[in-house]
């Protein structure tokens, strides 16, 4: 599979015909949706909470400069070392420099989508630093040499048999497809790495501007191990992860775990308030926070597109999307798949390269309905479609086809004429009207000899 968003069509075509893959995705997304519905249904004020979440995120994105300054100030007051990275390259360079100064050659790492965005592991490994992914799903795909296919369930595209064969081959263990045994193997292998680790890398779910608190949400305890045991902790976040106050955490902790995994609360929430100090008696001696801009400040100034920065990365829009359910995450060829990926990939990274993604939607609006911070996802897809057409990123033939369609649609007489032409063509060609992109998979509907409009006219004469 070609991991580029420009190859979406061919990737999607291949994925759609992979019955095995579709079954796995359907099962995983279905399970998540059922669990989510259960725990969301318990909260009668869910709609109000979504609005509140939306408003709190809007507050930050509308005043992003100020919130970056505030957070940086409070985090520094708490003894953390804050680095600001304008570009992706700046961020990887900062992280590499921090690690290089410690002279370690191995780091343990918990899940972080920003590090996926940075292609951090590849860069560190080129420079001789071994990165050990410790989230079970990430560990699996790291062993397989793949990328995550879902932002909260990275190995969703793998069956337990796939994982059994992978562990057998890479870890030299007897074949077992029992998830309990496979998990126990990972626990044993990674426990040693945790106890020896001197540098830990993590992501950040929420950074509280008023207290400098880094909040990390997880179930496996690997993020706790990465952020408590080593001497040095590097927290990697994008600037949009800031929330106004620690007082907003209860709200977001209600919205995120329920939307992401259908849990009332994840097993662990770490609220890190600085390195080891007199009032913070254990943990790393140094906490570095690497804050990535990567085009977000500019995006935050766009009147419409800024809304995509409200995202809290729960992945619910992926689970509910009929397109994601049919093709899976890899087909998008982007770091962020699914509806939110189709929205942010063109605006945050490369619109020309990602021009197919906003069209990978039936515009059914299920993503908008499920979003815990009420991002109007499917309308953003529409807006981006217009932008992509305006910039001339769609093929010339499509432009011609649309002009022809428009010409026929603009007058009743021409519309009538189109019907007649279609009927005649059908008579000549039989039922196989050659409409590329449509008829190879579907049969075109038969065009009636008498149109509805002419029948209506006939009725009114009676």
């Amino acid at each position: 599979m070609n991991l580029s968003p420009s190859e979406f069509k061919s990737n999607a075509r291949r994925a759609v015909h992979d019955q095995h893959l579709r079954e796995k995705i359907k099962k995983a997304t279905g399970t998540s949706l059922v669990k989510r519905a259960e725990v969301v249904g318990e909260i009668p004020e869910w709609e109000e909470l979504r609005q509140e979440g939306h408003d709190r995120r809007k507050e930050v994105i509308d005043n992003l400069d100020r919130y970056i300054r505030t957070f940086t100030g409070t985090a520094r007051d708490r003894g953390m070392i804050v680095h600001y990275a304008g570009t992706h390259d700046d961020a990887t360079k900062i992280i590499y420099d921090i690690i290089r100064r410690t002279s370690v050659d191995t780091v343990v790492k918990s899940k972080s989508m920003i590090t996926e965005e940075l292609h951090l592991n590849a860069m560190l490994e080129t420079n001789g630093i071994r990165v050990i992914e410790t989230d079970l799903g990430e560990y699996i795909i790291q062993l397989a040499g793949e990328t995550p296919s879902h932002i909260t369930a990275p190995a969703l595209h793998k069956s337990k048999e796939d994982i059994a064969r992978l562990f057998q081959e890479k870890l030299n263990i007897p074949y077992t497809d029992d998830p309990v045994k496979l998990t126990a193997v990972a626990r044993e292998r990674l426990r040693k790495e945790f106890l020896n680790a001197r540098v830990g890398i993590s992501g950040v779910n929420f950074a509280c501007a008023d207290t400098g608190t880094l909040t990390i949400i997880e179930n496996e305890a690997n993020a706790r191990l990465c952020t408590v045991l080593p001497d040095l902790h590097i927290a990697v976040m994008s600037i949009d992860k800031i929330i106004p106050s620690i007082d907003d955490l209860p709200l977001f902790l209600k919205l995120l775990p329920r939307s992401a995994s259908g849990q009332r609360m994840t097993s662990y929430v770490s609220m890190i308030n600085g390195p080891r100090s007199h009032h913070n008696p254990d943990g790393p001696r140094q906490v570095h926070v690497v804050m990535l801009n990567g085009g977000r400040l500019q995006l935050a100034k766009h009147p419409a597109w800024k809304e995509s920065l409200y995202c809290i990365r729960c992945g619910a829009c992926m689970n509910v999307c009929p397109v994601y359910q049919s093709v899976g995450g890899h087909a998008y060829g982007a770091v962020y798949p699914g509806p939110i990926g189709a929205v942010v990939t063109p605006t945050l990274f490369d619109m020309k390269e990602a021009r197919e993604l906003p069209f990978a939607s039936s515009l059914c609006g299920a993503c908008t309905d499920i979003c815990p911070v009420k991002i109007d996802l499917h309308h953003h897809l529409l807006l981006e479609r217009r932008e992509i057409v305006d910039r001339g990123y769609k093929p010339f033939t499509e432009k011609i086809a649309m002009s022809v369609w428009r010409w026929f649609m603009l007058s009743p007489a021409r519309f009538e004429l189109a019907g007649r032409i279609g009927w005649v063509l059908q008579k000549i060609l039989g039922k196989k009207l050659p409409l590329p992109g449509w008829t190879p998979q579907r049969q075109a509907p038969a065009i009636a000899a008498k149109s509805f409009r002419s029948l209506m006219k006939g009725d009114s004469k009676k």
Binding site: A221, I246, L249, S267, I272, N273, P281
Partner: protein, 182 residues
């Protein structure tokens, strides 16, 4: 003591794959834990904070503060059970809130094979916001230590969405609520 709240907390902890027992006095704590796990003195570690809190408490196990600092991590990693206090329980989600404490390092709730929290019944809150506010107000501005919310044992659903309990953290999690008015 609000019994409805305690019932809700108990059922939420059970939902998360943990257990919750009520002790009528601090003396009952040990019998609950012993009955549950039947572990020896060497296998159980408890925090110095527990000793500060309950002067009449006898728990089979070793006080972590009596172990020399450079050996603590290895001892914790080898322990079958770590026992800590907490700074609040949340009924809505079955959560224990642990504030980083000098006599109760975060590793003690993380490295041993199992983790048991001892809480007082007046530490129970309906929701997280109430508890967090109380904690925040009890420290001077800028001096808030790190906080960990714990709801059940460590878990994963990364393999075909099937739940496996016990990944990198404790494989079992329990709460003993000491309700002196019981």
């Amino acid at each position: 003591m609000n019994n409805e709240l305690l019932d809700l907390f108990q059922s939420r902890v059970n939902d998360m794959g943990g257990w919750c027992a009520i002790a009528g006095s601090s003396k009952e704590i040990n019998s609950i834990i012993e009955e549950k796990y039947k572990l020896g003195e060497e296998e159980v570690l408890y925090s110095g904070r527990i000793v500060e809190q309950f002067n009449d408490l006898t728990v089979t196990g070793t006080d972590l503060t009596n172990i020399s600092p450079d050996k603590r991590r290895d001892v914790m990693a080898g322990a079958k059970l770590g026992i800590t206090m907490c700074d609040g329980l949340i009924a809505e989600t079955g959560t224990a809130v642990l504030v980083n404490h000098i006599a109760e390092p975060r590793e003690l709730s993380l490295l041993p094979e199992r983790h048991v929290v001892i809480a007082l019944s007046d530490q129970l809150y309906p929701t997280l916001d109430k508890c967090l506010e109380k904690i925040k107000n009890s420290y001077p501005a800028g001096k808030l230590p790190s906080i960990t919310l714990i709801s059940g044992p460590s878990r994963t659903s990364d393999i075909e969405k099937s739940l496996v309990v016990g990944v990198h953290g404790p494989v079992e999690f329990g709460v003993v609520v000491v309700d002196r008015g019981k």
